[in-house]
Symmetry: C2
Subunit: 392 residues, 2 copies
DNA sequence: GAACTTCGTTCAGATTGTAAACGAAGTTCT
DNA sequence: AGAACTTCGTTTACAATCTGAACGAAGTTC
């Protein structure tokens, strides 16, 4: 019922049209919601040839919603109101090798800071959405067999946050699922029933939207495409198999290929960079070299793109999405990567599955994670509010 | 509302519990449905310590539902009542190279025969579910760019059947989707949220169930895994690409590999078979040779299984299903194929995605297609009945 | 066979939703 | 400027709907 209200964020008695209710009931219901403080009036709208409508909106003073996105190397925390507008956000580097207590503890601190800066108190926090880099048992809100951080397995994320924020519920999901959700709610994914959000960074993962809903799979590990095998004789991956996509095309692989190119002399640019960096190279350096027109760097990026595209081609045949959004740390690598991915997908997939397929970078940028986390929390919030209303 | 009734096929005033209605309303509603002829009483049940309940059931005299499953080489037609029980079925070989008029015309004839044999008339047919071997625009009920039978594109299947069966609605879907639905409703797929039904026959295709619903993809071509590339230098496929799974591991590929083995002398058994068959070999022959312990035949089957398993391994990582059901013409090939598939999948997928994964043959057998078609038609029937009820 | 269950219906009363009428506020055309 | 017409939102009387409690029917258990 008020889920509808969330959609039309500003509108008046069109509600009676949208819901199919009579004007009488709509009016009465709205009055009750205003009395309860859920809705507020917000000025008047433009006339449609008669009396001006009195617009309303969800009361954004109801409380706060937090979105937390924990990546392999960075950590984002944002505070939003119940309409999903971000009030403030912050970001800092982290390391998943650290014990969960310290990482989540830091999240709590940052969140408390944000709330204080906004002039609120911790008990005004209604809900927290958390994205973590690994398979999540969604119902329990717990990581299951995370390859990157075995220590985190079964860490009670929900209870941990509840200790500090008593009044808030906690929803935990995989970080890529949450990015896909963010793209759906705050990006170009709006209204698209079937799409894939591909995150390329330290690892490679995919968030899947099927029939408009997140597909998590039976163990919460759906979308784990980083460990699809692309070369049976390829390098050893952290997961124990050989030639995983992640081990061959993600950020670290790009960096190590660049190091090799710097060593064997196939790229003077990369060699210079390595020296000025103190013997190491980061994925960003390869991108920079690429911009300068370095052929070896370009080849490295293209190779990555082709491998990723080859895998995506299979998935396109299988899943037939209408859109693929590419995001993550590698996103600012310009178009070379994307072009290579596109070419590989178009070359290898069935024409029917690709004629309407669009492959592009996510435009939501670095906010996509926290936006998704907030959306997830809001979904949960409005679901229980609906239930409460049904019970009362 | 009566969708619930369809679930509990025999039950009485538990309906008031299931629906949450008061006993009064449930009773009244049931009376109305009985008067309209939708429900019938069917004896008494066992006492629970008090008065015996009077069991009811959906009236199976309401009309007929037809399920039609058109494969690449065979055609199945079945007649069922509105509870989904098959009354009678028939099957005959066909060829998708024939024009659609003649294939669908033959379906109509068979269906008329079945109805007559059951002592009914064509206007008692309420709905028809049709499965066709190719991508389907589900909303329009029309084939889109089918690789095997370009002539069938845009053929108005719905209108064609409506000409003969005026009172029936027609729902068209891809044949593998329909098999997946059949597995869900009449097989081991009951209650499973995420699974893949893999059909291996003349072609290779997959039906996908995500969050308990068929995932059709944005163009209706989801599940078309037959044209995933497994070998960039492989043989040319009918689709124009090289090294498609279908071209390397499906029935025809198995047969042609067997012919080669018969020619080059690596298998005496296959050579004998070829001679007694008049120079050709069918996939079934390879199976027979396999049973006799022929090593070359066994290798052929194992190779196919491995290639299929390699592809499935990627899809398991991506989709994380809890079950994979294997069906289609190759199903009766015994366990060699399945063992090879299983080994490849377990070897290549992430442990988390495979620990709870079950890969087995579909037990529904040859009925799975028509059962799915019937289920699809029933879903549609009960959906519109629900709507009608809401409107009245 | 008395006491207690479960099943299903009947009926009065409360709850809920609706349509129509009406007042308020605004626009357009003369 | 004002008459006529719109749209917006509320009030009110009325109709449909649902529920709870009471009750008869049918059975089980001790």
């Amino acid at each position: 019922m008020r889920a509808l209200r969330r959609q039309g964020r500003i509108s008046r008695s069109e509600i009676s049209n949208i819901t199919g209710w009579s004007k009488a009931k709509a009016s009465q219901e709205i009055r009750s919601l205003i009395e309860k403080g859920y809705l507020v009036e917000i000025g008047e709208g433009v006339s449609q040839g008669g009396r001006k409508p009195r617009l309303l909106r969800i009361n954004n003073q109801l409380g706060y919603i937090a979105g937390i996105d924990i990546g392999a190397t960075s950590l984002d925390v944002a505070l939003a109101d119940v309409t999903g507008s971000i009030l403030q956000r912050c970001s800092e580097p982290t390391d998943v090798k650290l014990p969960p207590q310290s990482v989540f503890g830091r999240c709590s601190e940052l969140l408390l800071d944000l709330i204080r800066t906004q002039g609120g108190t911790p008990d005004q926090l209604l809900g927290i959405g958390v994205g973590v880099p690994g398979p999540v048992d969604f119902a329990r809100g717990v990581l299951v067999a995370p390859p990157l951080m075995p220590e985190w397995e079964n860490f009670p994320i929900r209870d941990f946050f509840k200790k500090t924020f008593h009044s808030a519920f906690v929803v935990v999901d995989n970080d890529v699922n949450i990015m896909a959700l963010g793209e759906q709610r705050a990006g170009d994914g709006a209204g698209i029933d079937h799409f894939i959000f591909v995150k390329i960074g330290t690892g490679i993962g995919a968030g899947i939207i099927s029939n408009g809903r997140i597909h998590r799979g039976s163990d919460g590990s759906a979308g784990d495409i980083g460990h699809i095998c692309v070369d049976k004789e390829g390098p050893l991956c952290a997961c124990g198999n050989k030639g995983c996509l992640e081990a061959m095309a993600a950020g670290p692989a790009i960096a190590s290929k660049a190091l090799e190119a710097a060593r064997n002399g196939s790229s003077a640019t990369l060699r210079e960079m390595r020296e000025s960096n103190g013997g190491t190279l980061r994925p960003e350096d390869v991108n920079a070299a690429c911009r300068e027109g370095d052929q070896a760097a370009l080849d490295i990026i293209r190779d990555s793109g082709q491998m990723i595209g080859d895998v995506l081609a299979s998935l396109v045949n299988f899943f037939n999405p209408s859109h693929i959004f590419v995001g993550g740390g590698i996103t600012n690598f310009g178009n070379h990567l994307l072009v290579a991915i596109r070419r590989a997908v178009l070359h290898r997939s069935l024409p029917l599955a690709t004629t309407h397929l669009s492959i592009k970078f996510s435009r939501v940028g670095s906010n996509v994670g926290v936006m998704g986390a907030i959306s997830l929390a809001l979904d949960y919030l409005f679901a229980i509010e609906d239930n409460l209303h049904l019970m009362v």
